[in-house]
């Protein structure tokens, strides 16, 4: 038995794992080479010394564990995750390792006497520095990957948004081309209808003149019976009314063709992309053109109060983008108003800049909505009624033109957009 005990002690001394055995009074009765040698404290022989004296800083924690083991006859543990360095021990890799302090897992094992009572306690300290460092590095790597993943997700969202905007632009370009084609097709028939109507106006005027003269001659020269018959015929066919109505009908038709011509012109202006080139653009003219195109939308919804400068309001701009900006803001204003609202558009020349204000007296927005209106896909409209891209596009156009924009809104009172473009001297 003694031989066995000796052998066991020999094994314990040789073990590469730190082992320290104490009695109930916390006196060290055994410490192997890995324990004594691993300590950063310079200590003479540990045997016979009180644990409290050797480790005064750690004793509060150690006492708690030791008391629990003696009281409950049950092993206890300490993990590096919660308490990385229980004993002051240096890393087992002082040269090639990154850490100077050893990460430890400690087991507190009760040693029972023949009466089955805890007589001693064995502390086994495992060096888990390599595992701990690996785990910590993995955790850092995971955090870095998560951050990168979030950035990629953000980038993906931005790309998606850019793609949506591109799609929208392409859609607008296609609509523009379609509009230009339709405008061209309409222009020709409207041209000859107008020309024919003008000729008809001339012929009608002449024919009415001839008829009036004929009537006067007949009244003077013809027999009363013939005159009575003719008057009867004229009356039955309403010739007097025809004579007075016909010029008006032709006049109205000509006015109609003029309106068609003006709409077609506006449509062509709007659809002309000029290869998205930058030009000196008269903002007043673009406003008029946009209002002409939107007349049908506006007339049942709002009265327009337009204030434009007498001189040209020239800005260096992409014509199609500015038209798009006006369209988006005006359509939004119209949708916010109940009939009949008031849409105020004012363009003023400032020192070196042009200010444009578009104001409605519609439902307005609360501060939460206001803070999000330029977010792509943010919309307060019903699903399917708005893309949520209109004002995002306006924002991009303003950025592209190096302009500034201010939006003010009050729920129930309306919204005002104020743009400031840099002036252009041609």
């Amino acid at each position: 038995m003694k031989k066995n005990e000796l052998k066991l002690e020999h094994v314990l001394v040789q073990l590469p794992i730190a082992v320290c055995i104490i009695d109930e009074a916390r006196t060290i009765v055994f410490a192997n080479a890995a324990f004594s040698g691993g300590l950063t404290l310079r200590q003479e022989d540990l045997t016979g010394r009180l644990l409290d004296d050797v480790f005064p800083e750690q004793i509060r924690f150690l006492k708690r564990k030791i008391n629990s083991v003696f009281a409950l006859k049950n092993p206890s543990f300490s993990y590096w995750q919660q308490r990385p360095h229980v004993f002051p021990m240096s890393s087992s890799r002082p040269i090639t390792g990154d850490e100077s302090a050893m990460y430890q897992n400690v087991q507190f094992i009760p040693l029972l006497d023949p009466a089955d009572e805890v007589s001693h306690l064995c502390m086994v300290i495992s060096d888990v520095t390599a595992e701990a460092i690996y785990f910590l590095q993995q955790s850092e790597l995971k955090a870095a990957l998560e951050e990168e993943h979030q950035q990629l997700q953000k980038l993906h969202a931005e790309l998606k948004q850019a793609q949506q905007q591109m799609l929208q632009s392409e859609k607008m370009a296609s609509i523009g081309q379609l509009a230009a084609g339709v405008a061209h097709e309409i222009n020709n028939p409207v041209g000859f209808v107008r020309s024919n109507l003008e000729t008809m106006q001339d012929y009608t005027s002449k024919l009415i003149n001839v008829m009036e003269r004929q009537q006067k001659i007949i009244q003077k020269q013809a027999e009363p019976r013939f005159i009575a018959l003719l008057n009867d015929l004229y009356e039955r066919l309403g010739v007097a009314f025809i004579q007075s109505d016909l010029p008006e009908l032709i006049e109205e038709s000509l006015a109609g063709t003029e309106r068609v011509r003006s709409i077609v012109k506006s449509l062509r202006d709007f659809a002309t992309y000029d290869d998205e080139g930058w030009v000196g653009l008269d903002l007043s003219a673009v406003i008029r053109s946009a209002l002409a195109l939107l007349e049908n939308e506006i007339k049942y919804k709002a009265k327009v109060e337009l204030e434009l400068p007498e001189q040209n309001a020239l800005i260096w701009a992409k014509a199609a983008s500015i038209r798009q900006l006006l369209f988006n803001v005006i359509l939004n204003a119209l949708q916010a108003m109940q009939p009949m609202g008031l849409l105020k558009i004012r363009c003023t020349l400032q020192q070196g800049s042009i200010e444009l204000m578009i104001q409605d007296n519609g439902c307005g927005m609360d501060s939460d909505t206001l803070s999000r209106i330029f977010e792509p896909f943010f919309t307060t409209k019903m699903v399917g009624q708005g893309t949520g891209l209109g004002l995002a596009e306006v924002y991009n156009i303003v950025q592209e033109h190096d302009a500034t924009m201010q939006v003010e809104s009050q729920p129930g009172a309306g919204t005002s957009f104020r743009f400031c473009f840099k002036g252009f001297r041609g």
Binding site: R64, L72, N74, P75, F77, Q82
Partner: protein, 191 residues
């Protein structure tokens, strides 16, 4: 499915009452405070029942400790989060608790209660079971895809009356282990 006869259940209940009482005493001895306990409940559970029960205890920290030997299974301990400071003070932890100290406390309480409960239980039946080190347990991540169909679960609640401390110990025995458990119980009943 695990089936226990009424006599087997009664015998197991009696053994549980004694062993859990011993666990409460052990805890009380360590913290010098009276610990009360509920009547241990014994039930069989499917993975779904088990998951639902764990998820219902969302305001708790969890730790688990497996045991091997004649009996195999796991002890799962839940400790109500808002009672931690009180027990920490009794156990001479430095207050306030940070996350590491909270984890240490939960693992320590788990280790004490698991060992006491299991020891009382196995020693009465003269069965051996060796407890492994306790580890933190985050239920949502683990209970997916359990490869068992039913377990025998022994459930007991320890409280300290004056404080908010409330901890629940669940001893789960795997299907094979239940047969092992029933051998000495049946022998006891026949004698």
């Amino acid at each position: 499915m695990i089936n226990l006869s009424e006599d087997e259940r009664d015998a197991l209940q009696e053994i549980m009452n004694i062993s859990m009482g011993q666990a409460a005493n052990a805890m009380a001895r360590l913290i010098q405070t009276k610990v009360t306990l509920s009547v241990p409940a014994i039930r069989t559970m499917t993975p779904q029942d088990f998951q639902a029960m764990i998820h219902g205890m969302s305001n708790s920290w969890f730790a688990r400790q497996s045991f091997l030997g004649a009996l195999r299974g796991e002890v799962i301990t839940s400790i109500q989060k808002n009672g931690c400071e009180a027990i920490a003070e009794l156990m001479d932890f430095e207050l306030p608790l940070d996350l590491s100290a909270t984890e240490e406390l939960v693992l320590e309480v788990t280790n004490i209660l698991s060992a006491a409960c299991l020891h009382g239980f196995t020693s009465q039946l003269e069965l051996s079971a060796q407890l492994a080190m306790p580890a933190f347990y985050y239920p949502g991540k683990i209970t997916q895809g359990a490869d068992w169909s039913s377990i025998l679960l022994m459930d007991v609640d320890f409280r300290i009356e004056q404080m908010q401390f409330d901890t629940r110990v669940l001893i789960g025995l795997s299907e094979g282990s239940t047969d092992q458990l029933l051998i000495p119980i049946r022998a006891l009943l026949e004698s």
